[in-house]
Symmetry: C2
Subunit: 395 residues, 2 copies
């Protein structure tokens, strides 16, 4: 809406029209958009030069003239999508619709630093491209999720607590020296929210994704769009104060923070104080799965604590679905039962009448799909297209 | 973005371009939008037939041809904007940019019911139109704010607690029998958020407006757009639970609700329990202005309670400005000091570094301006224009 630069303004709009896969003529595109025929011709040429749109033979002989119909070819160009977590990382090759063509997951701690982790990413992506018989020149964009705060405009992590060596590291610049394509970086909660919505809840315009793992964060999709806030830190809810935690200190210097009560490490610590062996959140998950009563009670209470924060979120944002994900969501119904208990008790009936509270069904895939969608959205935005046209693929 | 209907799709886009008041030729408009010349011509004709755009003589003789330049004429058409409060109402005539040309404010309780209050509105608007020398046919849209929940798609109040007789009343239908123009209805908090942003914070894309009066509600502007949520009840925060209020019952059936602790009636009740005469919020405001210590302490604590809810809102939404308005905001710094105390103590430094927390500076005018902007936005949307073209003004 905002971009009214002549000529290149709405290439993304044409792409959206073609996204359903149906072939269209230039005349049909002109009629649908109100754009001049010459503008349509220039933009179709641009999409074709990017390999996003391909001519389609329309069955009727055109007497040697070029085919008059065009359609999206989802696999004409590819996306490298990565979800770099605290201890594990996934890299994937997807098509332009976010469908995963090849995927590789491995244990690699983010704390090994940007050069090692990103080298793993680009090497892994290159191997996956080989596996699917394609090359670097086919990559139209790279999307990366990181387990910490990211300044979206620059793609740089900002004071990420569990990512030594990553602070202000130029992730897009480093990756772009290996893939000559736009590189989009965001925090893992935002890309998971995008991915969850695309994969599991495509018709829900108002989705709230809550990641419960070593930290706790939220990704907000309103009217189908990711909400980032003024400084890009919308959803940073780990240090919201919870009533019952007044005397529980948090690493941030305050007390009673949601993360100090309901994260994986917080639950493990609380169980250790009861004499139960639990090093981390994974141990808590195992204890719950083994039926340990104290662990089940702790996880249920964590759900109530998260629910307390969510009552405000539900009143403020009026979402239609809340998805609980992250490694702690693997405990299953115990966590979500606590969330539901509080949200349905404490929110107004109108706000919860049509509200679904669900566990993430796509888990780690959501983050990779979200990273892919984020990258494609940007690559096909007016700015992305302009940048692409200045730097055509070289391989 | 979503509307790609041929022809009428982007009349609103042309209007936005012309909004700065600078004259433009059809060729310039075609170049700026990429639209076909014939499309531009059709849309300029449409805007001219609506009276929104007028030809401008360009100084150079065109040898009898029609003028080739066009500019927005803000006062060519008018908007009726009304803010109907619990006990007072304001009706105004504005131009297309929301500037108030004439205004009338009167004590009229919303509880008198829709027919009486809306009759007052249409009679008042007719008199104001007379005052500015214009007629009903000049009205391009009507915008109305109501002190209760409104289903935005139909403009009907839904279970409004302080509006007997208004539940599911067809406000737009009733008003449209007096003004042949689109009628937009929303709750007063949403229109105030729009108006505050337009008047006082035009460069802030992320604004949170909090109304503190008989009830407590929030209006959310993100990336410049009002957020309504899945059922249109985003911002309905009056019944969020506040920690210190566990044993304070609320009319909703729960206890500890923000409204039961920090609204005008709640403060008056708390003061009465201390033996201080205070019938309502207005009395509390008077007591504070007279320097009554108990009233000042109560208001400060109300600010802290609102701040407790806002710490979650700040973390979730990362706004750049929070505006505190409503009748209780007239107590001045005492309320806002309590809000700041808690928000700046309990939110993460990154979220508060660039956050302003300010008292509404435009007060009741914000609601009227917001109602006008809401109405104009809709009247110039593709749907609004299409409806308008089917029903041309008759007066």
């Amino acid at each position: 809406m905002n971009d009214t630069t002549p000529g290149r303004g709405n290439v993304g709009e044409l792409f959206q029209l073609l996204r359903d896969g149906a072939p269209r003529t230039r005349a049909e595109l002109a009629k649908s958009t109100g754009l001049a025929r010459s503008t349509i011709a220039a933009r179709v040429d641009m999409l074709m030069s990017m390999g996003l749109v391909t001519p389609v033979a329309d069955g009727v002989s055109t007497g040697g003239r070029p085919p008059s119909q065009f359609a999206l070819n989802p696999a004409a160009r590819l996306v490298v999508a990565a979800d770099l977590g605290a201890s594990h990382a996934t890299v994937a090759i997807t098509d332009l619709t976010g469908a995963i063509l090849a995927e590789h997951r491995e244990s690699i701690p983010i704390a090994e630093g940007p050069e090692r982790v990103l080298t793993w990413l680009v090497d892994g992506a290159a191997r996956l491209l080989d596996d699917v018989g394609r090359g670097r020149g086919d990559v139209v964009a790279v999307g990366i999720g990181l387990p910490g705060p990211v300044e979206f405009s620059t793609g740089q992590p900002v004071n990420p607590p569990i990512m030594p060596g990553w602070d202000r590291f130029d992730v897009p610049g480093w990756v772009r020296s290996h893939f000559d394509a736009p590189v989009l970086v965001d925090n893992d909660v935002n890309i998971s929210a995008l991915g969850e919505r695309a994969v599991a809840w495509p018709v829900k315009e108002h989705l709230l994704f809550i990641k419960v793992a070593t930290g706790i964060g939220a990704g907000i999709v309103s009217e189908g769009e990711l909400q980032r806030g003024a400084q890009g830190i919308a959803g940073d809810i780990g240090h919201v104060r919870i009533a019952r935690g007044a005397d529980v200190p948090c690493a941030c210097g305050n007390s009673g923070c949601l993360e100090a009560l309901a994260s994986g490490p917080a639950l493990a610590r609380a169980l250790r104080e009861q004499g139960i062996e639990a090093r981390d959140g994974n141990d808590v998950v195992d204890l719950v799965k083994a039926g340990n009563l104290a662990a089940i009670q702790a996880v249920r209470q964590a759900g109530r604590d998260i629910g307390e924060m969510l009552t405000v979120a539900v009143s403020l944002l009026n979402p239609s679905v809340i998805v609980i994900g992250g490694s702690m969501a693997r405990v299953g119904e115990h966590l979500i039962a606590g969330v539901r208990e509080v949200v349905y008790t404490r929110s107004t009936p109108l706000a919860t009448e049509h509200l679904s509270i669900a566990q993430s069904s796509v888990a780690s895939r959501a983050a990779v799909v979200g990273a892919s969608l984020l990258a494609v959205q940007h690559a096909l935005s007016p700015e992305g297209v302009a940048a692409f046209m200045r730097q055509p693929a070289t391989a």
